[in-house]
Amino acid sequence: MDAFMKDGLAGDTITFDLASDPVRALNAELHDPSGKVYEVLHPAGAHAVAAGIDRGITVDVRGHAGYYAAGMNDGGIVTIHGNAGTGVAENMMSGTVRVTGDASQSAGATAHGGLLVIGGSASMRCGISMKGVDIVVGGSVGSMSAFMAQAGRMVVCGDAGDGLGDSIYEARLYVRGTVGTLGADCVEKPMRDEHRAELAELLAAADLDHDPGGFRRYGSARRLYHFTSEHSGSY
């Protein structure tokens, strides 16, 4: 980035071209921003693009991002116009991360809050250990998604792979298509009005217009996460 761009007035779009600017310079600027709106060109699969944002700035990444894009996001509005590599929005605290294409493994892993929208499909382990994030996937998710999901909501408009919600705690999962298999302690649960209402809100937030009535809900049978007294004689 040249000095002119760096000194651009707040409200102007500040552009970084990763064909020449290092990711570290981009992220240093995003961590201490002089503007509010950023555009990132030629990411070319670089890792950690726009990671560690801690305020409500807007970042548009034009192209495919590598690992951990928008990781740890806390308030930023980040859109990746392309695909994202492993761990997009991992450990997000708040804000919004959108991926217009597909996401690789572990999208939204361990994220505490905010909204992650994946327009295409997400690979395996989507939402692994999610702790409060909302994840909406326009396509399908791979196997072992929502593994040990503790809190938050996951919406899958396509299909889910095997082992969905294995060892799940209190996250709520909504799937429109088929589920390969359910993981240990994950069960289908009835869709009540409050579930249809929260699903409608999540779909609207992701600019999707599916009928909430076409989804099924899955969650924890709560059989795994307490010590059961009948086992006490085993020790």
């Binding site: 070319a44 699969g45 590598g66 590599g85 597909d102 690789s104 395996m124 791979g142 072992m144």
Partner: protein, 293 residues
Amino acid sequence: MCGIVGLHLRDAELYPQLGRLLESMLCGVVERGPDSAGVAVYGDTRRCPEGYAAVSVLLPPGADTSGLSLDGALVTPAGDTTIVAAPIDVDTLVERVRATFPTAVVIGSGHDLAVYKGTGHPRDLAATYDLAEAHGWQGLAHTRMATESAVTPAGCHPFSVGPDQCLVHNGSFSNHATIRRELEREGVRFDSANDSEVGARFVASRLAQGEDLEKALLALRETFDGFYTLLVTSADGFAVVRDPIACKPAVVAETDAWVAMASEFRALAGLPGIESARLYEPEPGKVYAWTRS
């Protein structure tokens, strides 16, 4: 971690650019394994002219290749690797090299294949191999972060143990010792203690029985336990398989002009026409295979 890249060209107009494209792909995965790198190129007539066989070999220090006494031989030194080509059949050439240099390690052989191995930074090795000037129709490369055996040229991938065959591996096999014993009982000989060599020997054994790459890799999936993304090439094929829980990364890109595979997208970002390529991650446990048309 390790880095894998491979490029299978469909458009012959790109053949002169194979080496340059492969070098840029290799440099895109350097951070995944900067201790050593191996490369294989199919169809580089600078190394293996039409009608020749070529043997890629790690010779002992000070070896004098004039001792091979081969008429019409073409010898190309490239760092630790030497490529010896001659207008004779492959088996005879391999035997001649082994007989002349009993301590040499043959790292590849065939009618169309040059294999390079060495230790050091992959970017420097690409220069040592003169990769940018290579031409051909298919190639693959591997950057290594060693876990199972020493950082030596012999420990580099690809493992090329059958004619015009190569295998590169990101991951580790856990039951390789058992499979090695079974293969040894069938008469298969091993060059190293490396787990990936067992995978390569297994595939070579299947191909020798008449199976194609897809069938051989389906059998590998049923037999091997562990973590793997594999790229396997043959005299006319290019195939990718990941373990059933996809522990190791892989991205495939396809256009009318080429099929490419890499550990990460960033290795593919410089390919011509990548903007409109069909991009996808191979599904866990599924074999993807392409054949030269």
